[in-house]
Symmetry: D3
Subunit: 283 residues, 6 copies
Amino acid sequence: MKDEFKRAQILLEAFPYIKEFHGRTVVIKYGGSAMTNPRAKEAFIQDVVLLKYVGMKPVIVHGGGPEINKLMSRLGMKPVFKNGLRVTDEATMEIVEMVLVGKLNKDIVTWINLHGGKSIGLCGKDAATLVAERETRYGDIGYVGKIVHVNTEVVDLLLDADYIPVIAPVAVGENGATYNVNADTAAAKIAENMKAEKLILLTDVDGVMKDGKLISLMNLEEAKNFIEEKVVEGGMIPKLQCAISALEAGVRSVHIINGGIEHALILEIFSDEGIGTMVVERR
Amino acid sequence: MKDEFKRAQILLEAFPYIKEFHGRTVVIKYGGSAMTNPRAKEAFIQDVVLLKYVGMKPVIVHGGGPEINKLMSRLGMKPVFKNGLRVTDEATMEIVEMVLVGKLNKDIVTWINLHGGKSIGLCGKDAATLVAERETRYGDIGYVGKIVHVNTEVVDLLLDADYIPVIAPVAVGENGATYNVNADTAAAKIAENMKAEKLILLTDVDGVMKDGKLISLMNLEEAKNFIEEKVVEGGMIPKLQCAISALEAGVRSVHIINGGIEHALILEIFSDEGIGTMVVERR
Amino acid sequence: MKDEFKRAQILLEAFPYIKEFHGRTVVIKYGGSAMTNPRAKEAFIQDVVLLKYVGMKPVIVHGGGPEINKLMSRLGMKPVFKNGLRVTDEATMEIVEMVLVGKLNKDIVTWINLHGGKSIGLCGKDAATLVAERETRYGDIGYVGKIVHVNTEVVDLLLDADYIPVIAPVAVGENGATYNVNADTAAAKIAENMKAEKLILLTDVDGVMKDGKLISLMNLEEAKNFIEEKVVEGGMIPKLQCAISALEAGVRSVHIINGGIEHALILEIFSDEGIGTMVVERR
Amino acid sequence: MKDEFKRAQILLEAFPYIKEFHGRTVVIKYGGSAMTNPRAKEAFIQDVVLLKYVGMKPVIVHGGGPEINKLMSRLGMKPVFKNGLRVTDEATMEIVEMVLVGKLNKDIVTWINLHGGKSIGLCGKDAATLVAERETRYGDIGYVGKIVHVNTEVVDLLLDADYIPVIAPVAVGENGATYNVNADTAAAKIAENMKAEKLILLTDVDGVMKDGKLISLMNLEEAKNFIEEKVVEGGMIPKLQCAISALEAGVRSVHIINGGIEHALILEIFSDEGIGTMVVERR
Amino acid sequence: MKDEFKRAQILLEAFPYIKEFHGRTVVIKYGGSAMTNPRAKEAFIQDVVLLKYVGMKPVIVHGGGPEINKLMSRLGMKPVFKNGLRVTDEATMEIVEMVLVGKLNKDIVTWINLHGGKSIGLCGKDAATLVAERETRYGDIGYVGKIVHVNTEVVDLLLDADYIPVIAPVAVGENGATYNVNADTAAAKIAENMKAEKLILLTDVDGVMKDGKLISLMNLEEAKNFIEEKVVEGGMIPKLQCAISALEAGVRSVHIINGGIEHALILEIFSDEGIGTMVVERR
Amino acid sequence: MKDEFKRAQILLEAFPYIKEFHGRTVVIKYGGSAMTNPRAKEAFIQDVVLLKYVGMKPVIVHGGGPEINKLMSRLGMKPVFKNGLRVTDEATMEIVEMVLVGKLNKDIVTWINLHGGKSIGLCGKDAATLVAERETRYGDIGYVGKIVHVNTEVVDLLLDADYIPVIAPVAVGENGATYNVNADTAAAKIAENMKAEKLILLTDVDGVMKDGKLISLMNLEEAKNFIEEKVVEGGMIPKLQCAISALEAGVRSVHIINGGIEHALILEIFSDEGIGTMVVERR
């Protein structure tokens, strides 16, 4: 009987979070090893469906790196990066889109459906959800897009009908061109547009580190300082920038967590400490 | 980190039940030591609010024995029982109603509200939810009622608006008379009328016992046999009769559990084994 | 045939009032001899159901004085009053609540149902409709509450579903404590919160008197002057204060009438003169 | 004060009828002296608006005899009747329509609006509410129509939006032709189609008479016998036929009353005896 | 096959207009030879139903000149005009109303219904849609009305239920009097009140002419100048005044077209050039 | 002016079809040269958006042949066909899915959005819209699916919100496997499930031919005979089988038309003759 008691206890510990986030939208950037490691993937899918059933409204935005390179390599193409951005000519864009939209997106949808959710896969072209223009900050890098407009009408429609939307980070230009957009940024923009409760970025590190220690909780100002004072570097900089942008637009909290940890999502949402870094406006 | 993993694991173990019972009505007879023992009571209230938040629709029907006797004794009145039923003259009926409706009912409501639910207290007089006539099987025992009509219109209205209804087992006669009705029966009749998923009867024993062992799962026929063959006796007989009646009217499962065990409700609903006896039509 | 014509004539005289108050909320404080005199009581219930059927939305808030004292005396307790307020220790509060909520409230509900209405009984604890804190103006008088928050969500829900809500003046504290609140004040606060058309206070006198004559109509300023200049005294002062507060919060008219007159409600609402005192912002 | 009591008493006497007919549709054929006598007319309009405000759904179908003849005579045309039906050539039909639709119909609408109702005037051409074909029972009598189809979609729409529809007895043919239809029949057909609670025919006599005495209440079979045994004759025959047809189609009661009596409508509906003849399926 | 291609081509040319005006309200003043010439009339009715089916919301306001004079002459009455306005004594008003409401209005309704639309005929008296007072600018000219209030609640209700409302320019006074109002003005006022996309005035000339040439497109300022500089005269002045008033109240464009041209409506709406004059705020 | 008249004429000729098919669902299989020929493609997209704007509910199911082979060939894979079905091993299935879902589907969506529609791209995996099992009629041909279940819940949701759904013929197995399904069959099954008004199959031939002549209209029995008597052969056989299946399931008409003809869709729907073959249950 002891075990059973523990079970009840744990369910009740999760309860304050269930209550607090009931009916709230949670935008999750899904990528990295959480996508490639089969166990982490299955755990992630279970977590998403659980979130939905206990009353939250999860929206998934996914990435896709390795699969894209794999297909390019099979076709004898060579990925080129510039300032961490994939130089995307038309042929590359076609590959990117086919892999993201035609393979990974529907694969996630299928897994969610198999685990008891009702999921629909979209990309930014659907109902022109993500409209982009050419990103020119680093010169001509082709069909890399900068999101200029977000329209979540169809996402809202699907959420209200109890679907879990899964969105591939492919945007459309005013003239119909296809753009490759950064998945973290796409997730942040969608969260901003929907005034989401949470934006959760799954990465392959444990969160924001300082002096070798994980920062569990930080506020907007600290996030800005960390960038300015170069406490963080590399890929963590754009992630913190996403966090700052989202918080300033009204998202209540941004979480940077290690998607490689099984059930990272539940562990982060359903406990006080969490397992990664939570950034809020004020703490 | 180990503990955190266990937490996620347990949440996920609860998930199939959350999924299965999503949106379903669960009528719970609340009484006995679950009402008198403060820790069991708080645990019960927490469980009810949790059920609501993870998507079920709990309806509480409560009893009230000891409190009634206490007030009667303060007033110098002496409880009289006949065939296990309280002989209820007009003065006694007044006490019963004041205690059930004016004290216990609103007390449960307040506790639920304090724990994050939205609750409303009703009795069978409200919108004539429970209509009774005089119970005459055992001769004249006064204002003891036999339920002849159940009207859950207002209960449905409240559930649809996300309230947790708490119902005192006081019924109204066609002419406006007040009747004392058995709480188990009232819960069963309400469950039948609403085609509830579950009827859960909290008692002070662990469930149906046979040869000193708890029966975890039994079917309708076995329940009938247990009564006929006198495997069960005393208070368990009317409880099994309630179960039989409910199942025959379309309720999917009836649970007889020990309300004295903390979090009995969650332990019963969110595990395969459960902690008491589950009766189903067919197993 | 003459009588028949008179009948039509009278129905038509009532018509302008029916038209004017169609769809409007009328909060009625029910108490005094209208509750204790059986004929006045039956007439009152008929009036309430009639108001509902001709298109108004009555909400009843009731008092309960004599019944409370009766039960206290049976229990050997002695009512203590201070500045007109009942000193309410925990034991007294329990009695007050049992009588108001468990006896009088559901009795009114039953009568309304018997006369063709659909009624639900509530107290301030239900959905935390009335939240109070300790009244300390006159020192420690125990569980006497000052209403600090009114939430009529469930009242609105019930009105929209064509129920007649009956509310006992028992409030809940932030921590779950039970408070005894003044019924006139509770009615006024509810009327204010709902922006009611009318607040009607049933008393045992004919209305506001000046120089031995009934004042049929007065305005806000006159009401204030009457208090200041001590034209009124005793129990009429808090009633006029309720009227002032209600009018200032947007209630369109407040009526102080003699509930001992049979059908006082209809006589007041369905005629120009009325039978008591009507207070309006401006006349 | 005495008068005031009487007032309340009478309102309460009307109450059982208000309750019984709440939300029910009442189709009223308006014609005869109730239309020509200014006082009876004003009383009728008041009654209709009152019915609406106390919760019924009145639908008016009106006639128009004398006005039609007046205009015909001004134009030097001579009314011709055959078997009580107006022989209606094209020129006559034009006059009939202009008077009914362009004069009387909108006049009734205006009066209702002035008395506090919201009214819309229709004829059978609007949304093809009344579709007729040529009546040939008595040979060729021109544009006299037999109703073959009733479509009350727009009437329902207007009732649901709280309008009082006023319908002129002009029907449309499949090919767009205009037909003059009998107002009693049109009212009956509309009542049948809407499964109305009541069909009320205003005439210039007190009701169905037998041996010089008014029959207050009769059933379907008696109505049939009265026709067969020639207890009734002349214009009362088609009225009883309308009643029989309506009752057989599900209308709950048909009333034949003297529209010349002021407030005949209220007097009939709001009393047990009534002032005319009520025909029901079974008594 | 050639013809078929042309067909598709033309449908597609109409498409931008269908898209642009989807769901928009178009108020059309129908009068002149479009009403008297049978071919132009049938073409007009077809156009109106087509507009409805491709997604617009047409509202028709009609005139009626010649028919009124015809009936007056049959009755030996002589039309008198003053400043272009019909001097309207009570007898004349009766004729005007009977012809407009009782003949022309329902005739248009019938034609629309025969061509596949669902139409309802109204006048300004229905639900007091058009409230007028006596026009006194030119001295006493009797029941000629100046519109002082427009209430399109019932028009909106009918449009939402997919009906095509047809409105006769007869208004009601505060006291119930009947007023003859100008159809162009009535159409403009209704368009203004509904914030219509278009107001289309059918006339018997091709549009606004200057130096013998048709002006296809003009703006608000030009319209004002044309009046001031007397480029236009006679009946075109009040039409341009209607246009100016409508545009200033938020109507998006006003069209003055020759109703004698078959399918003038479609030709004007579904092409760039149009066939008459379009007035817009700015061009 | 002549041209303008013709335009109006043609719009009016289309009108009966617009009226007849208003609010009806039309499932269109889009494939062949209509997809590869840029002019035919643009014309098709225009037609689809036009259908939507004039009130129909188009649903697109597309094929994708040549693009699939192109990518396979770039990857050095060789298409293998057996009984006209693509032998689909896992690697081939991946290519098929990426091309259909990740390239062609979203390309169509983008074109529709650019032409003024609101479109969403789906495949059979989304919300498990198309569930298939392995097709084994011709031995093991890999991931070629036979549709066993169709669930159009999300398609209905999108249509009701005015979206144009575009569906790729990729189905999901019970266990999550991906299946390649025939686009004609998928379109037919969806049409059957939605009780569509029309199923339109775009092909590269003009329709069903007999003795070198196009059959414009045929009925169900003739379709069966044509197959049995081998009047048709090759790819036309499964198309006629789709037609038969759809008609038997309640689809009102099936059209087999040449998608290579520009605006084939409009030409077929908006004329009596049409340009291809229409199959109906009875003619």
